[in-house]
Symmetry: D2
Subunit: 352 residues, 4 copies
């Protein structure tokens, strides 16, 4: 562990000085967004691979690099640490960072299991530090608009939730498609739906001789009887990002592959009327179908990750929990854990 040979960065009035751990697939997006944010600056990046560090150096000459993330934790110039490493390293790095007094940003999924997540919450609470999970999609224009529609009652009472996220690749070496793709959808659901999930079942398949599931179906059961269902697949010939949300007042389609009209709201639904038939005095339920206009609200097109960065900065400034706090991170990991247990138990329904 070499000391960082760097001239002390003078602390600017309000900029949060961030150290980023891991410059692999997602790290570059973090560094770019932190760099472009008004309230943040990237002071250091760690990555064990020399070629990744070289890339940082060429792109950001003023950012210090190191092969050891502990250099960041020990650096008094670092206010916050963003962790974008493989999921099984999230817990130890985040724990060390909190113990070093840093605010922490963790990539999704937050930890390998919910117990680790709880311990991190304890540690952050004790030290009054911000612990923030990067559930990126929650900050996108589409999901924010849908949340607004759900909250305002525009959809009415929600009937069901159906989500499909499939494409060809990229196979992960260390996890299955649930931990890789469903984590996005479960974090969106966690944000949109106020009811409490009580059980999870999942089926999946390790096809093409792969060691992890590359296709899976997850059902989340809620205390209200509400069902949410997720299809995730690394082996689909087409890229589908599609969500259906049915409500008593309106129904919604979220198609993230559409370049502009991603959220379509249908003024459609049914009305059930109890009806007594003349001839046999039998009761019959009459279903009438209601179809009205469709509309597609304009969506904010700001990059979602810029919103995540802004929320992190504001949470630190205000010493408050961020929108996607550690509790949401743990809830999502609990759903993933339960889905995993169900996968290993012939798809049986697992209580949360």
């Amino acid at each position: 562990m070499t000391p960082l040979t760097r001239i002390e960065t003078p602390k600017p009035s309000s900029k949060i000085r961030v150290g980023v751990v891991g410059y692999g697939y997602w790290g570059p997006n973090l560094v770019r967004n932190f760099s472009e944010a008004r309230d943040c600056q990237v002071v250091a990046v760690s990555d064990m691979r020399p070629e990744r560090r070289a890339l940082v150096e060429s792109r950001y000459p003023s950012v210090v690099t190191t092969d050891d993330h502990r250099d960041l934790l020990n650096d008094p110039n670092v206010d916050a640490v963003a962790i974008a490493t493989p999921v099984d390293t999230h817990y130890p790095i985040a724990l060390d960072a909190l113990r070093a007094g840093k605010h922490v940003w963790v990539e999704k999924p937050m930890t390998s299991n919910s117990e680790q997540g709880m311990r991190l919450i304890d540690e952050a609470d004790r030290r009054n530090l911000v612990l923030h999970v990067d559930h990126t999609f929650v900050y996108g224009g589409a999901v924010r608009k849908i949340r607004e529609l759900v909250s305002s009652g525009a959809l009415g009472h929600i009937y069901y939730y159906d989500s499909v996220r499939v494409n060809l690749g990229l196979f992960q070496q260390d996890s299955n498609v649930i931990w890789d793709l469903a984590v996005h959808d479960l974090s969106i659901m966690d944000h949109l739906i106020d009811a409490r999930p009580v059980a999870v079942s999942a089926d999946g398949s390790c096809i093409a001789g792969y060691e992890h599931e590359n296709i899976a179906y997850i059902t989340v059961h809620f205390d209200t009887g509400f069902l949410a269902h997720f299809h995730v697949n690394w082996l689909a010939p087409v890229k589908i990002r599609h969500m259906l949300l049915g409500g008593t007042q309106r129904m919604l389609v979220f198609n993230d592959m559409e370049p502009s009209e991603k959220v379509l709201i249908y003024d459609k639904g049914i009305d059930l009327n109890l009806h007594v038939q003349d001839d046999h005095a039998r009761q019959q339920i009459l279903v009438s179908y209601r179809t009205g206009d469709m509309y597609a609200p304009r969506l904010d097109r700001t990059e979602a990750l810029a919103g995540v960065v802004g929320e992190f900065a504001r949470a630190i400034a205000g010493r408050r929990a961020p929108l996607t706090d550690a509790a949401s991170g743990v809830r999502v990991v609990s759903l993933l854990e339960a889905a995993e247990r169900s996968l290993r138990s012939e798809g049986r329904r697992m209580s949360l």
Copy 2:
């Protein structure tokens, strides 16, 4: 039961004289297709509702109508009976028809349970009569082309099967969405996939206060480990008829809502290679992605039901089992029964 007051229809050399039981939603399509077929003619239609019989009379002045289907069974001018009544009446009517020496066409689902289906098979076999199930989609240009691709090995070994059939309504009074919509998809799967299903699990929800499930997810497990999954929903704001079929050689999308290019075949896939890493001698699986051309074969656009009628006529002429024979009808009913059992058992996997 009134005798049919009709001048005997002279039996033409080869035309099969059909009596149709039930002129509700599907019956009119049967009568029209039998009328237009070269080898068939409709001689009588029964329906208990006077207004439905009046409709037959105005459209087909030469066809005799009756309010009692037994008139058809007793009529020596009727060679075959087509049953398009509610599913719980299929068994008694079909049994009586077979006993009266008629060839029988039954709508899907064939019977309310598989035991009834087996008894019908026994009865038909004993009497050397054709017993035929109207799994209409099996005869459509799209499914026939897909079957051809599967059989020829163009897709390679099949990886997975994913099917979505959702729209707004029509709610059925006497059954749930599985018996109404999934019956189509299960009969398509039964036709396309040669492996043997061994278990079924299903989750669903009776939303909007409806007494039957109006949304459901079904997973069919095969002896080879293969998974097929079905989403059926009566409460979706958009009509989706979408199927994904992944194979080792090619992948396929069947979108029945497309006006012409319904079946798209993607020359896409993955290759897994075992790879020994230099540094730690750890084994790693390298996944490489293959993407080539896409093509959409021209499909026969003949109405599927005309094909079903033709097959029924040829099976009678040749005294052979039709393509969609009673055995396929029973297999599909067994899948529906198992799905229903699973729905009633917290989604547990039910053996077939």
Copy 3:
């Protein structure tokens, strides 16, 4: 000319008794819609081809058929005559029908030239008879909704009109693609746009060695400087029915190939601001772009032709001009004539 051997049809209180001339491609739709209309009934159909008459007889046993349309004109039981024959026969048949005191329905295009159309107007006016042109699309849910949006000012001042109608076939023997396809679009434009067209230019090509143009582009120039443009093509691999309508307040896409959301209204536009640059005191126009929600109004799905029939019946009952009166028919024929003249004159702009 044989007399119609028919028992006199007793004249019902209000039903208009229609004779249909021509049972080719469109005639069957006329007969069906007149038959199903509350206020009309078809009493006779004429067609020179025996096999077409046989078809009428099998479908409508109570309708009298004849090979000579003059039988219809001479029949006192016929109140109105609908003419669905080749366009060059419209004028003589319509003239004879008016002279025989019948109300007249003519298919589009109304006549082979505008002079014929004017003469028919004179004849109808003199006899106080209804002369009606079947510009079917004007009565469709989509065009009626667009007319409503234009009239209410929801689109603002209309900027431009762009229409594409292309597909593979059907080549007409006796006319080019302008008289076959553009007639639809010009009649829609005539209905939607209140400004006055003053000139037309057209380019086209007789490809594949065909004697008539099978691809053409038409530009209609208005007194306000407004441009409307039309692309019609019998040789396109895909079927496109697409219209763009730009206005100061909103913009509209009409895609008739969409099964349900055919009309999309975009709250989009531009604002121009004159701006004086600081440095050189040069004026600059600043364009700002406005993008808001999109919405798709629910459309009436009633068959358009049923609406045409209803309007014809009401016009006869009220002795008033129908929505698509002979004047609109002549305006559309004038546009077609001018386009044809331009085609023969190297695409030069022809005044109307």
Copy 4:
């Protein structure tokens, strides 16, 4: 004009040292692609605006910047000059650059008029320098595949060419939509079609009170009778990039808005047969329609501009004309000039 205060860049064996004039909308793409190319390096960038130069400096610390493009022309370290300035400055800068012995890359449209283009060709020829026009789309995977299909005869003899390029904005201050958008489509057509255009007609409209045409239609007439047609529009609510190409053997749709299957090839067409009718011995042309499979070839997804850069480098290395040479630039400018003349002459057909 300040001398460039820079240490001499040692000339690497084969790298072409490029100076880029203009760092506005397109310049950054040029600098990025030249920087990433194996055979090129950017040594200097000129732009009159200090904030644009600052941007270059922050992104490319090793690149020298200047406010005067003449510094680049005088710099012996610059082998080639790429000009990405407003179109009316292309000619003087390119002429000076050639006179200074530099190879020249000019953005599209090459010059304000074809005479200027001819003079540049003379100058480049005299000095044996490469003069290259950046018709970017010609190097994209889609257009290269279409060219391959046209050249191989897969489409047969080409019937027609129809192109639509519309969207909302960006209005240009100094030119109309023809010089801004149609230049792309005319350069694609110039590349794809071997026949010789002989005349051009155009109609357009200056809507929303704008001083330049923001919507236009162009027809290009060929010596073979072949027609190509172009619709360009800055005021459309939706972005359309759509091309139809009909041939005797196959037909093609190029939809550049599709994320992956951009080029669809339809095995569709017609056959005309002369037919002598029995009854009147009249000749009739029978048209039969042929419909077969559709396929979408895999396209090279390399950024088109990287291909342009590669071709420029290879042309310099080989002292040969590039694929998009100055002659193609002049041909495209001639088409734009003729379209402009037609716009000013009531849409009359202008000979080339």
